[in-house]
Symmetry: C2
Subunit: 338 residues, 2 copies
């Protein structure tokens, strides 16, 4: 299968390494032989319709901080859109950073790829929170496969679990700890009794929180994931602005201590139901599967037959998200009966 | 799709009710119209190649405690094996009770069904722990689909998660709380400080533990599930006798209390690795996703890319297991491209 990779930052590189590492595994277990025919980053493109040498591509990207220096045969300096339209390929990985305002440039990349008849895999939340239905329709109309497992839960197969593994069930509600940074902060506050600002600074020093942590601590990242789950699992047509959001900035150690004394943990929980979408701090009984600590993510599906099913794991990290990208690739390969 | 149901006890009836309840859902979402053409229990058979009236079948079974009184057109008094061989059908549900000694009568039912070219779905652990490889090979040889999701984890899609949702991963180890009865007993012992015998009696009165609880408390049921997971997920050829088993009968409240003070819970854990299979009481850190309470089940997969992924939910109960049976039915329907 011929792949185009748009975006070759931390995630693109981790995925490239996974492709190398899993070459034998994919061939033996699934008869799958992926060939990266193009990689594009903000500085340029590496193109070889015969298949790029992924090892060399990774070395180039790490040394020059761009794939554009890759000694390829193809015409240089092509933009992502030119590559998507001109390079013969079966599937496009859209791995550029999330932009929740208008979904760009990911949104246009995905649309162009679908218009060109290419399957699409992405972990980019931007295009999904602004145009989920539009992209879903376009994929169907063009007869291409569209997967986005990595956009929610990182390595934790949240969407697939609900759509495929609980296929006989009606999902009534989804509740989740969907942001590792805020979960880390709340866990540390509860263990140390320290105030929010102190723990946030510690998390930033450890690289768990970003320099500008706004999207995480204000609950926006969780709201993005709730929007995607509402569309993908509950089948409702929701956008980011439909989610009522409260963040964790105002939570004080005393509140956490009181909750603890009563047998509860304070967690930033996203909730998706057919008639309401919200994100906010909630009390979760200690011992409940959602009461996970550290940077873990956990999502509970409330269903009719299976009752509550919860899945837990590491929701972020390039290597973990590669697990989702690879799973999507195998899933499309299998769906196509290749 | 024409279905034969072998076994029509609590599970068979719950599944029958799910089929009625989900008729519209299956048609709308999957274009699936299941038709039960035969149901067999230990007293006889109800057969109608045009499709039994499932509502009437359920009423008959509840009133007469057998399906044999169903006013069907077909020849009466046929055995399960005769029905499997003679009645035109696409798929056989094998839902008789588990027999871990020799897998019978389920094992012969499944083999005959496969020989007759029928797909098979079962939640019966017996045939799987004595002849997993043989059945897996026979299904492939006969070109039929074989699913057994309900045999491990009840409503919790443990096997599907590992095989499909973590498809890009190598699973190194599986650790699980796989028996609701023992988890209930250990949870109560930890909360009340009460001795094993007292809590076991309480669990029996509540219907959570069986009159003869040996298979649960000696760890045999957990060992069965570890055997199935080892075969299905790790791909090794294991039988029940390969699992080293220690039960929970000798655990004393003092041991649980000491563990608690050190921040641990005592859980009956099954572990499957490529070079060892075992079941026994283990210490699990409080806050770890495996440290679930009550009758919950939880399974952690240790993988290369996704690291640890845990799934949690209700591992037993006829309605919950129906969720797995229905999921397998949809999965086969989808795999066949019907």
């Amino acid at each position: 299968m011929r792949l185009i990779m748009i975006g070759f930052g931390n995630l693109g590189r981790a995925f490239g390494r996974s492709l190398l590492e899993k070459k034998e595994f994919l061939l033996t277990n699934y008869g799958l032989t992926p060939s990266v025919v193009a990689a594009v980053d903000e500085y340029g493109a590496a193109v070889d319709e015969g298949g790029l040498d992924v090892k060399k591509l990774l070395k180039t990207a790490e040394k020059a901080n761009t794939v554009a220096d890759y000694p390829a045969r193809g015409k240089k300096g092509r933009s992502a859109l030119e590559v998507i339209e001109e390079v013969e390929a079966d599937l496009v990985f859209e791995l550029t950073p999330t932009n929740i305002k208008n979904g760009e440039p990911g949104l246009t990349h995905i649309k162009k790829a679908m218009m060109a008849g290419r399957h699409v895999i992405t972990s980019n939340k931007g295009p999904l929170v602004v145009a989920f239905r539009e992209l879903d329709r376009l994929a169907k109309q063009k007869g291409v496969e569209f997967r986005y497992s990595g956009s929610v839960g990182g390595a934790v197969p949240v969407i697939g679990l609900a759509k495929k593994m609980l296929a006989g069930n009606m999902v009534h509600a989804i509740r989740g700890v969907l942001n590792g940074t805020t979960n880390y902060i709340l866990t540390r506050m509860s263990k140390e009794g320290a105030p929010f600002d102190v723990v946030l600074r510690e998390a930033q020093e450890l690289g768990i929180a970003e320099k500008d942590p706004t999207l995480d601590i204000e609950g926006t990242d969780t709201a993005c994931k709730i929007t995607i789950l509402a569309n993908a699992v509950l089948g409702i047509s929701a956008k980011l602005k439909d989610v009522k959001v409260v963040g964790i900035r105002r939570i004080r150690p005393e509140a956490i201590r009181l909750a603890q004394e009563a047998g509860y943990a304070v967690k930033l929980i996203g909730v998706a139901k057919r008639d309401s979408l919200e994100v906010g701090p909630k009390l979760v009984p200690v011992g409940h599967p959602l009461a996970v600590g550290g940077t873990l993510n956990a999502v509970t599906f409330e269903t009719d037959l299976a009752r509550e099913v919860t899945i837990t794991g590491f929701g972020a990290g390039p290597r973990e998200t590669s697990s989702a990208l690879l799973g999507d690739l195998i899933d499309i390969h299998t769906a196509l009966g290749d």
